[in-house]
Subunit: 361 residues, 2 copies
């Protein structure tokens, strides 16, 4: 029997969704949709037991679940929780054994909440952690990949009742084939993938990220109630640095190959008056420049908060005049390895610069 | 034990490929590639037993195999026979039982020969027939669909080692998802689909089409050797009508959504002097107009033969000055039902005209 770290009730999902949006670094999809699905599942099936990854027996079978596709589509075409359970149960059939615990593939954005749907409906424990410690746009961008875990067999389901089981030669191929299917399925799909043992999960998982989401959401809520400074509280909790405070001057946005690409420029306020700031995004915020100099890039995390409320702001909702604070905070050390940098470093995303860890002070 | 109708040796594949090109009605892919694969498999594993569909026990499991994708890609990226066997064996695993016989999904074009690869390698009998009696561009366009057979579970394999198992809510969805995967896989894929019982196969199969391919190829070869008229011989064998004889005047060709669409215009020769002819194609020849009047449409078959040699000519190889004879011949009666017309009639392909069976005389 695994020891429960924390029991998650329907109302906790509010905090988790906010925390997921902060770790979403501007992308990752709207946690609102996943929150609704998870709350409904918990109300129907009961609360979710969050467990530490070390609680897993080495021979346990652990499976991440997530939603794939364009965030805008997900909001318009609200998925049923059933499709996630379909993917999960079908993967059990393919593997020929019961799954012992649910895992989160991506703690940033919508997928911070989707695993709660499956954990509630299956009654299985959910591991406190994920495979990114943030949000990224492609399926192979998981710390699991760095540990040689295959993304397949993977099951992908849509809202109409179609499903596919993928077996691929690499996680890059999984991304390509699953992406093509998702587009054809109408822009969003639900999936169960990266089946792994408890032993591997202990090495590969980015730990504690779901608890971090809870704490981020709660901190934001409590400091607001106490009329304290929410931005300062979030900054402390993340071990982050404030890298800019300013007003959005212009946003250049285009949709290329299903990604929201672009950049936003800011004029400084207060301490940053007279300084300029630019943020490049491809779904997520991936590179920050201050006064024309690159100061922080992926895999380190860059997030935007409303200066007054501390509410996280996505790349989608950037618009002229918003007063925002930009935070940088350190990525999981697994991303700083050569293999990690190859998978999610700035050059993978087409930026002609090497990754230099931001000097968090 | 099923009675063998005809034993197919490697050299017979020459005739079958020619016959497949005639039934390919201008499309269906180059049978040359499939012929090479099938000949190699037969040389390695021994000849293929062709059986009448009535030989199948009602509870037999019968599975069609085929190649999907752009014909030009297939020629440049020669598939290995192994990928077809992979799809076939993987479908056996999904279904949890051994397959008893191999079926041809499409007797026109490249897929007239690909089932011989699997029949040779597996040692299983091959049913003399197919699911079209011709070539069509989409997966759901099978007489099997008219009998309520699901195209899934379907296994799709590529040359790199990737595979996917599809389960869909309709054969139209199978087409969409398999098409997207095939494009992503580099433009061609190998698949096993439409698993059915012997009982259903007896109703659904277009009978005798592989024997017809053998006979068409042999007839062409023998009339040439005998310096007889190959076009006349083929016309007789097909129960076809010569609907035009002329020279290609111009060809309008564009590739839209992976299809080679266009039309060719002809000036009449001999008896047709002074008359005009136009052929519309979407991979296959789908509509023929003479002197501005539609005279034959899909699902009836329209094929082009070189006037002198009787060799079949594809839409791809149409060019100015070629002297050709156009034949029309009757489709399988299953296509003439309302459901058949809905699936493959002229309106499905965007032509604003109803199907009227050509009056074959």
């Amino acid at each position: 029997m695994m020891k429960t770290l924390r029991t998650i009730h329907a109302e906790d999902l509010e905090d988790i969704a906010i925390g997921g949006a902060i770790l979403g670094t501007g992308g990752g999809g709207d946690p609102y949709v996943g929150k609704l699905m998870a709350q409904e599942a918990i109300r129907k099936h009961g609360p979710v037991k969050l467990v530490d990854v070390d609680e897993l027996p080495d021979d346990a079978l652990v499976v991440p679940v997530c939603m794939m596709g364009a965030p805008t589509v997900m909001t318009e075409k609200l998925p049923q929780g059933d499709e996630l359970m379909n993917a999960f149960r079908q993967l059990e059939k393919v593997l020929g054994r019961k799954i012992d615990a649910v895992l989160c593939g991506e703690a940033g954005g919508i997928n911070s909440t989707t695993p709660f749907v499956v954990a509630a409906a299956s009654g299985l424990p959910l591991v406190d952690g994920d495979g990114m410690g943030r949000a990224y746009p492609e399926l192979q961008m998981e710390t699991f990949t760095l540990h040689g875990v295959s993304a397949t067999p993977m099951v992908l389901c849509d809202d109409k009742g179609n499903s596919l089981v993928l077996e691929t030669v690499s996680n890059g191929w999984t991304e390509r084939l699953a992406r093509a299917a998702t587009v054809e399925m109408g822009g969003s799909a639900l999936l169960a993938f990266y089946p792994m043992s408890g032993e591997v999960a202990k090495k590969a998982v980015v730990r504690g990220t779901l608890s971090l989401c809870v704490n981020l959401g709660r901190t934001l809520r409590e400091t607001r109630t106490a009329h304290a400074d929410p931005v300062a509280a979030i900054t402390r909790l993340l071990g982050a640095s404030i890298i800019f405070h300013g007003r959005v001057k212009d946003v250049d946005r285009r949709t290329i190959g299903g990604f929201a690409r672009g950049s936003a420029r800011f004029d400084g306020l207060d301490d940053w008056k007279g300084h300029g700031f630019r943020l490049d995004f491809q779904n997520e915020f991936l590179m920050a420049e201050r006064d024309g100099k690159i100061i922080c890039t992926t895999p380190d995390l860059i997030t935007l908060l409303e200066a007054e409320t501390g509410a996280p702001v996505t790349a989608d909702s950037l618009r002229y005049g918003l007063r925002l604070v930009a935070l940088a905070f350190p990525c999981n050390p697994q991303w700083q390895t050569p293999a990690g940098i190859a998978l999610v470093g700035p050059r993978y995303f087409g930026y002609d610069t090497d990754y230099k860890p931001y000097a968090f002070t």
